[in-house]
Symmetry: C2
Subunit: 138 residues, 2 copies
Amino acid sequence: MDPIDELNENLVEFFDRMSSWEQSVIQQGKLNVAGAHAIEKLGQFGSMSMKDLSKALGVTTGTTTITVDRLEKGGYAVRERADNDRRSYIIRLTEKGNDAYLDHHRHHLSFAKEIAALLTDEEIECFTAVLEKINKEI
Amino acid sequence: MDPIDELNENLVEFFDRMSSWEQSVIQQGKLNVAGAHAIEKLGQFGSMSMKDLSKALGVTTGTTTITVDRLEKGGYAVRERADNDRRSYIIRLTEKGNDAYLDHHRHHLSFAKEIAALLTDEEIECFTAVLEKINKEI
DNA sequence: ACACATAGTTTGAATATCAAACAATATATA
DNA sequence: TATATATTGTTTGATATTCAAACTATGTGT
């Protein structure tokens, strides 16, 4: 079989499995999908404006307004006035929000651990190196 | 840095990039997300019943009814009566539906090709083998 | 000042999804 | 056979998600 075809099939299946896994993890928690994604971005990249958060999430600012409203009501995040621009807010995770992020992060880590357990040290090294290469260049 | 952390970070980023890529590919076409996913399953696994399609997609049969209605209206798929069970339909891709599947498949292939171009033969082999291993066991 | 641009919110509409009720058919049991 | 139960797919009513466009408030450039 063509190596490209083989790579493709495995990629597609892997992506499918990761999607299912991600969704099931989110559904275990109290957050909706949009909120969980927002918390992930805020946890990963730190506090940011509505606009930047929208861009990071790939949705309109209108949608982000709703998402952040919900996060605020749930006590996961707060809007803080930006120093330099009075139109703008900086969205910051609260302690509860950060806990939710860390919890999600722990899930990811245990997923990575589960994968690593299947592989030899050499395979882990190669797999990580390849992913890093792809992430850098695509 | 801990190899697990490193693996995790690269996995998360890779998944994120694949999600964006997938979404942008779908939005280029005329199908909505649900329809595109349904076509992907039907193309990959062949004609199947509403129930099986629902299971493959991870949604209720009610949702699948709507999705398949739309595919039929768009000329991408047809419901055919099952021989053995008169309650049941077999959902089959039309030629147009199959073209849409092949087109999507081509996008995937070119994505895989793009990735392969970044890697040495050895890396391709290792990456594919690791993905296969993970897919089998997770 | 004045026009134009930008950040975020609101609004109205379209779409997606689910759970539950339902109709038609199949299967099992008495 | 007759009757109860299960299953397949559809419909319905409710809720959630998202977008585009209009809008408010503020910033920037001429």
